[in-house]
């Protein structure tokens, strides 16, 4: 896939400090990172290293204390809560470790959820949902409730929900962390397809080196500092 000259995600001198009571807890320290469009990046590091915080900042669900996060030329740190919500619905697909499907909704309704924010008519929404579910291989389970699905199937529904509005970026927070090895492999394969066949830029947090090896790049964080940024074997063959 051809790469554009400007990075899709540009993180410039980002710092994040949490406040707990009177105590300041620095989580990210002067992070500088560019992610080109179409890249598949794995964020790795020990617990508390700040990788989920960095993912949340990229996804626009948290805001940096200092620095800029520019996505497709837009500094998302300057957006209001309402603008951010709208931006997320168009730009970001979020995949959680624990799937986080709404238990009262069927697989179909869970995937349809982000589309309720659009002006699409019911028939158009149906078309989008069916396409997303067919991509993840769950067309036959659309009327099932989350409790009627296995962990791997739930995560695939969550991925369908993440891609149904055709976002540019997929962010995944340990998407295989709660799955057995076989289901985990299926999810990683699905993410690879979404990256290669559908051109989605993917940023994935993982503890699992095997999962990270599927990405093009591995970025290591420790104590809020970016320690290493290396190309994987998968990424080595990819034009930069």
């Amino acid at each position: 896939m051809a790469q554009s000259a400007e990075p899709l995600i540009s993180i410039e001198h980002v710092e994040k400090v949490y406040h707990r009571d009177q105590i300041e807890i620095p989580v990210l320290n002067d992070i500088h990172l560019d992610i080109p469009e179409g890249e598949y990046v794995a964020l790795m590091g020990p617990s508390g290293s700040g990788k989920t915080t960095l993912l949340n900042l990229i996804a626009g669900i948290d805001q940096p204390t200092r620095g800029r996060i520019v996505v497709a030329g837009r500094d998302i740190a300057t957006l209001s809560q309402t603008e951010l919500a709208s931006w997320r619905s168009h730009t970001i697909g979020f995949i959680f470790q624990l799937y986080n499907l709404l238990p009262v909704l069927t697989a179909y309704e869970n995937v349809e959820l982000p589309l309720l924010l659009t002006r699409l008519k019911k028939a158009e929404r149906r078309k989008h949902v069916e396409t997303a579910l067919s991509i993840v291989g769950l067309s036959d389970r659309m009327d099932h409730y989350p409790r009627q699905l296995s962990g791997g199937q739930e995560q695939r529904v969550a991925i369908a929900r993440a891609i149904v509005s055709d976002p540019t970026i997929l962010v995944a927070d340990e998407p295989t962390g709660d799955l057995d090895a076989r289901s985990g492999d299926e999810i990683l394969e699905l993410l690879r397809r979404l990256n290669e066949e559908f051109g989605k830029t993917i940023v994935m947090v993982t503890h699992d080196p095997r999962a990270a090896s599927r990405a093009h790049r591995m970025i290591h964080l420790d104590k809020g500092i970016l320690h290493a940024d290396e190309r994987t074997e998968t990424g080595a063959t990819r034009p930069v």
Binding site: N56, S89, F94, E109, L113
Partner: protein, 387 residues
């Protein structure tokens, strides 16, 4: 509308909890609708406004004292007065003391009563004429006549209580009116008895004036005329006269409103607790929805809508149950001495609107704080609940 399915599912997420909370709203609404309808019925004008030109003159100190019959002629001479009938509450016992045998028993002047004063009542002219001609005859409201299955010519004997007289009366026929709980018989029946008040006293005067404009002037003129006499008067409109019976029971309205407010407050707390629990259980889900792009306003709207929907469902069911219960209560009450207050005992449009406003109001009040808290929570804090 596209969010209705999601809101509905969340309301019924924990069926038992929703059932119990909705049941508490149902109970409260049943109680409030019945009490409000009863209060309205007690305050309603039994003539439905058709008695606006009627006045009741009673002794200034209350209904316990009689008025001299000599006042009648002087009242009749006041400009604007169309007709005056002395009327006495006989208050006897029919059959026995059981409430289902209670009848309102009144004496009046039959020559003018249905012709000039109670002229909005419907009575067959033949029945009216026969009643006028029958000294011991009585007419009864159709409801009460049907209840006791009286047929023309039937005799009833009333046992006097404060008037020592046991009249043997013959049924002539019935009349139709808003209040059909009474029987009427001749004043002359009392006047020809050994009662101390015979030809001297009456319980009160019922009179008709020529127009609504004359009502305050005539009322003031009557009271002024007798203010320095041995029997000062208090002249009331028909509606005021009815309302004073309610006041005799104490401040019923205050009591009913007070009870209603307390139970409303209690049910608001119950619903608020349910909504708060439901929102607390869904902190992560709500954060996930916001991650997907739902705004704070969406979340606020969802939680409030769930609260209002649950409250409204309870309200609707409560009103329906009250509408079924009220005719049954009315049927039971009609057998007792309070039947006169149950004439207008039904669920009015006003009460329906009030029930709707209460249901929505309870929903909004109960859902407001959980909705605000859920919508204001930071997404990352919400996601961290399980991560």
């Amino acid at each position: 509308m596209k969010y209705l399915g999601l809101i509905w599912r969340n309301v019924f997420r924990k069926k038992m909890r929703t059932f119990l909370t909705t049941s508490s709203i149902i109970l409260v609404l049943v109680l409030i609708v019945i009490l409000a309808s009863l209060l309205q019925a007690m305050q309603a004008d039994p003539s439905g406004g058709r008695g606006a030109n009627r006045l009741v003159v009673q002794h200034a100190t209350g209904l316990g004292n009689f008025l001299p019959l000599s006042q009648r002629q002087r009242i009749e001479q006041i400009p604007g007065v169309v007709a005056v009938s002395p009327e006495t509450w006989f208050g006897g016992v029919y059959k026995d003391d059981r409430p289902e045998n209670w009848i309102g028993q009144l004496t009046c002047d039959p020559d003018i009563y249905f012709d000039k004063i109670f002229d909005d009542a419907t009575i067959d002219p033949k029945v009216n004429a026969e009643w006028k001609a029958t000294r011991n005859g009585f007419v009864a409201g159709e409801t009460i006549a049907k209840k006791f299955q009286w047929k023309k010519g039937d005799h009833i004997i009333l046992k006097g209580t404060y008037i020592p007289l046991n009249p043997d009366l013959v049924y002539v026929g019935s009349y139709n009116a808003g209040d059909e709980s009474n029987i009427f018989f001749h004043n002359e029946f009392l006047n020809q008895s050994q009662w101390f008040g015979a030809n001297k006293y009456t319980g009160l005067y019922y009179l008709k004036v020529d127009s609504g404009e004359s009502v305050p002037r005539v009322a003031a003129a009557i009271d002024k005329m007798f203010e320095n006499s041995d029997a000062p008067t208090k002249t009331l409109t028909e509606k005021q006269f009815q309302l004073q019976f309610m006041e005799m029971m104490g401040n019923v309205k205050f009591l009913i409103n007070g009870i209603s407010l307390i139970i409303l407050f209690a049910v608001t707390l119950i619903v608020a607790n349910t909504v708060a629990m439901s929102a607390r259980e869904r902190i992560t889900e709500i954060s996930v929805m916001r991650t997907l792009g739902f705004r704070r306003g969406h979340i606020l709207g969802f939680i409030l809508s769930e609260s209002v929907l649950m409250s409204l469902l309870g309200g609707i069911l409560g009103v329906v149950i009250a509408m079924v219960l009220i005719p049954l209560l009315k049927m039971a009450g009609n057998k007792t001495s309070i039947s006169v207050w149950l004439i207008n005992f039904h669920v009015s449009w006003d009460t329906l609107v009030m029930a709707f406003v209460i249901s929505v109001g309870v929903g909004i009040l109960a859902g407001f704080i959980p909705a605000i808290r859920s919508s204001q929570r930071k997404i990352v804090d919400g996601l961290r609940q399980v991560v």
